[in-house]
Symmetry: C3
Subunit: 460 residues, 3 copies
């Protein structure tokens, strides 16, 4: 369903790139690449041929020619290339998108997650956490694999049974679990040999010191905007027990309509113009990123239209971003920014829903967030009481049943409860959210503590 | 894939509506609506343009002009409209569908579920449960949010820890969980202000006293029959831990074939004619509602072709319907009705399967239902025994581990077990059904009771 | 998206079949079949009309004419037919596929699973496990339904509470659960009456003594190669708590790309030629079975490209196949065969990924398998210790909490952990895999054992 807007956008892209990447194209030796790679890796050649890049003459070497100073550069049959084009490489043609993404939680996903222990250690020592040298000194991967912390919820039991400190145990679900989404620290060895790779996590620390990976949502080598607009792309990470946004969307009326008729919508409309006349229901990208026909500003800062932080133990308005504070270490709610974010989101809602409809819904959602926060206070207090009564020990943070239930009330069920409510997924709000948190996890915690209390009384 | 049948049906619809809605169209001020709404809510204008309604001149005011006596009517820029067109509004053009739906469990979904405490209270007092006045007196939403009952399985623990009676606790997963599917009671304030809204649950109590919401399965404003025929539409509610019909369908061979080739089928064929020449495998609507090429009568009473009630603690043949008894309060199995229902279902099966094939399958299914019923008897007896031994208390119905397991054996695993078998989803019959019920939940119940017994003996 | 390759393949098929099935067509009374079945079972007639079979004149009686000596043959309106065409029937036109499948774990799926007790008993007695006579003597279905074994994980509790030995209890989740995927033993009564049917499980024991069911992946009566190439077809069995390959694929980038753009790919290309120019990302069939444009040999032996056995309690290299040993009873790892399998798989990867990329990924995966194996050793040791301390009893293998957790660490979570890593599904590697195994199941096991130890000390 291509239309004139697609053609115009192609022209615009060609003009935009004229200043930078386009110049580089003049000495673009595409033919030699294809000559081998049509045989060696025909899949990626075929993908690229289908891409808009191929239509506007963005060939291999424009993106893969290693920039000066990029440690990942190496000689490859007479060309100096990198296997890891970072956002800095995409920036020449897509500057606004790269800039927006750089201040998003996406780009900081590794440091906000599994590489937080490393980030903190680097900052404590006054070192640059993005540099290859710091990584060589502190070994971020090893730090993630051996730290006892709820960040790695299997680490307490692994410590208890001796595997965390066993040199033969790789704890490699950290690599193929956590870091596949959050991103790894890619370190460079000799001749382009890469450590912590393959990895395309959204918060990847690239050899050139930049953060993030554009290819995570625009998969190589088609780099299709249509793909990035489809919910399955977001669902690669936003799914599962602790943040099932994809499943919530699938359950919502929005997701039903997408599943039932999405294949007939216009997916290739240029950014900013893609709007209510092209689709019948929104996808993730519509509400959180797209301009929706000009109603709002397009953004690649995925948290830009949100009020609540829904992932922490207790929900607060959106934190100040990395352009204001070191938000890996300092989490400062910013009520004003959050309110502005919600206003943008509502503007998207209003394109299809009445003001009363949308405003009422957000009120209902806020009530759910408040409920969760109250339940969390109770749960947290109960854990402290169990410590004080000596029913459980603080030795390891996550090895005794009450500790594990306390964790799950927050990290799994409590997120589903809030996130389900945010996007109209009733089963996630109720069964997999509130009921799982309250009846199953808090219920188990209460019963377990009572049992421990009776045992202790008998023993005393 | 439109064909002559679609064209004919359009003409027929136009003629049918000539008697009622069509007359209203003569003074239909569509243009003024669009003049604003093309800018204010472009999404819904675009949806309507794509609808069959727009093709046969069913414009905004035909459906949104408030009927006399509808409390939700209000002045809106010179027009007297409602934001909540109920089934009574759809009835002028779709009388059979509305009548069939009105006696289905769908239409009574709120009263059979979260609004049952209110319904019972109203009936006890001799009040009309559908009226705005009764709702003003009894406050159905508040009643749902503060009643301790297995209907709200988090209510026991919430009561125990003091949140259920805490005025600051909203218990709002009742609204954004239960009622999003079951439906809310929509109460009307001043100037069209609505309480309990937005809500489009199948059993919604509308301001005009009618039950249900056509838009739940025919989402506004395309109201597409194709969408309603796709399994994702049913899957908006029929999914999750307690009735995963959508997941079961996805696992079944029927669902596999739909996923692999459904995009090539004929989805727009008129009701009654849609049949085995249009599709390669059935969807939910095919077996439960459609005429399947004339093999059976089309119906909007979704239970019409069923033998078993699969959701209660113990399975029985289908209950007598609301046209015979007050089935919210009186649940009377009707063996004859159930047998007739199964015969209709088998007739659908026979369009693609041999009689031996289909009959054998139903025999296998009945054996599974019988198994579950026997297991439930045991589980229920075990709970009563634990009460009698004084191992647990009857104070709250759902706060101690054996009570919670007993509930899950029925409400979650036991439904999956039976429903999985009804629709050829082996993982749901076995792993998420029988094995979860027997090994995991009953197993936990047995182990927990044994632990309590040993503790009690030590304490005594 | 048909192309010349499809046309050529049709011609080739017609020529291939000229030797056997084609001859049979000469006396093929298709018209009489359709005359009735267009009315009696219009669905299957429509399906066949859409099939490639109908295009090359493979009509009903070619496949349904009972072979001499097939016990399932019976008179049907003057024709001698079978309702269960087995792989022996498909073999005339598809000999290589049938031969490859016959030595796969697919074909042996019933004997490797729920019918293992029967298979062992037959072999112990020197009887042919595939024969109708042996089945009449030993009753494989009854054996599966009454054996206490972790193969039937609900059997221990059912034994404990008296239902396993209760003649009224059908234990029929064995039929509609286990055997729907693994396959049943189809026994023949009078006049073509079939017992253990309907069933189309991959490892079905057919009346003619052959193993397997081609229609499971090529659903009748379209028998479409396109359908078999789509992941949902594999997902009919490869899903759920104990081997969620379909869910893992859906989460992987491969699955994302398929979901976002698969509807535009070429699905009808003939076997062997279907390759990287037809699709943008691989499906299950691409990596495990297809020739991928000639890069490797096409195969219907689904384990042919694998290194690890990921389903056993402890992972080992692929077992020797049934062409070498009786692999139902003897499971002999074959390092050489496994290494050759991996090399084939890597060859597929290399069509789109660099050697460094793919080789590194397999190294990461191997580390995960090693981790799981170490964790399993610990878990298994812990169970033995609990037996030795007298904290639990060996009476029934799967009725006490530590036994159930021990089982789940292996059979559910431990498989997800390994399988998630094998196919780039981070949530399955981490949350539903390692974390569920270590924090939730092993954690519960440790806590439960500690509680039992304290109770026992008080009692002693």
């Amino acid at each position: 369903m291509r239309d004139w807007r697609v053609v115009l956008a192609g022209l615009a892209l060609a003009l935009l790139c004229g200043g930078s990447g386009w110049a580089a194209y003049e000495d673009n030796p595409a033919a030699p690449c294809l000559a081998c790679h049509e045989t060696v890796t025909p899949g990626i050649v075929h993908q690229w041929e289908q891409s808009k890049h191929s239509k506007v003459n963005i060939k291999c070497y424009i993106c893969h020619k290693a920039k000066e100073g990029d440690p990942s550069g190496y000689e490859h049959n007479g060309f100096y290339i990198t296997a890891v084009p970072s956002p800095k490489y995409c920036e020449s043609c897509h500057p606004a998108e790269v800039e927006q993404n750089a201040r998003s939680k996406h780009a900081w996903g590794a440091f906000l997650g599994p590489l937080k222990p490393y980030y903190k250690a680097a900052r404590d020592k006054g070192l640059d956490p993005m540099s290859q040298e710091t990584a060589a000194k502190l070994d971020p991967e090893r730090m993630a694999k051996t730290t006892v912390s709820p960040l790695f919820p299997d680490s307490s039991i692994l410590k208890k049974i001796g595997l965390l400190d066993n040199a033969d145990y790789n704890h490699n679900n950290v690599n193929l679990g956590c870091m596949e989404c959050h991103g790894s620290f890619i370190r460079v060895g000799k001749n382009g040999q890469l450590d912590g790779w393959p990895n395309a996590g959204v918060g990847r620390i690239n050899p050139d010191g930049s953060l993030g990976s554009c290819t995570y949502c625009h998969p190589r080598h088609t780099f299709s905007v249509a793909e990035a607009r489809k919910p399955e792309t977001c669902g690669q990470c936003h799914l599962g027990p602790d943040h099932p946004q994809h499943e919530i969307y699938e359950e919502s009326k929005h997701g039903n309509i997408y599943a039932a008729s999405g294949e007939e919508w216009n997916w290739d409309v240029p950014p900013g113009q893609w709007g209510p006349r092209d689709i019948v229901a929104p996808t993730c990208a519509t509400c959180h990123m797209s301009g929706f026909g000009g109603a709002v500003e397009t953004t690649h800062d995925v948290g830009d239209r949100l009020y609540w932080e829904l992932q922490p133990k207790k929900s607060v308005p959106q934190w100040k971003g990395p352009e204001e504070v070191d938000f890996v270490l300092e989490r400062i709610p910013d009520e004003k920014k959050a309110a502005a974010g919600r206003q943008k989101m509502k503007t998207v809602c209003y394109q299809c829903h009445s003001r009363q409809w949308a405003d009422n819904y957000f009120d209902e959602f806020d009530q759910v967030v408040s409920d969760y926060n109250m339940l969390w206070d109770y749960t947290d207090g109960l854990l402290q009481q169990a410590y004080e009564e000596g029913l459980i020990s603080k030795d390891l943070p996550l090895d005794e049943t009450p500790e594990i239930m306390h964790y799950l009330v927050w990290h799994h069920d409590g997120r589903r409860w809030r996130m389900g409510a945010s996007m109209m997924g009733p089963d996630w709000t109720h069964w997999n959210g509130a009921v799982d948190a309250i009846m199953n996890k808090l219920g188990t915690m209460i019963n377990d503590i009572e049992m421990r209390r009776r045992l202790k009384e008998l023993e005393d």
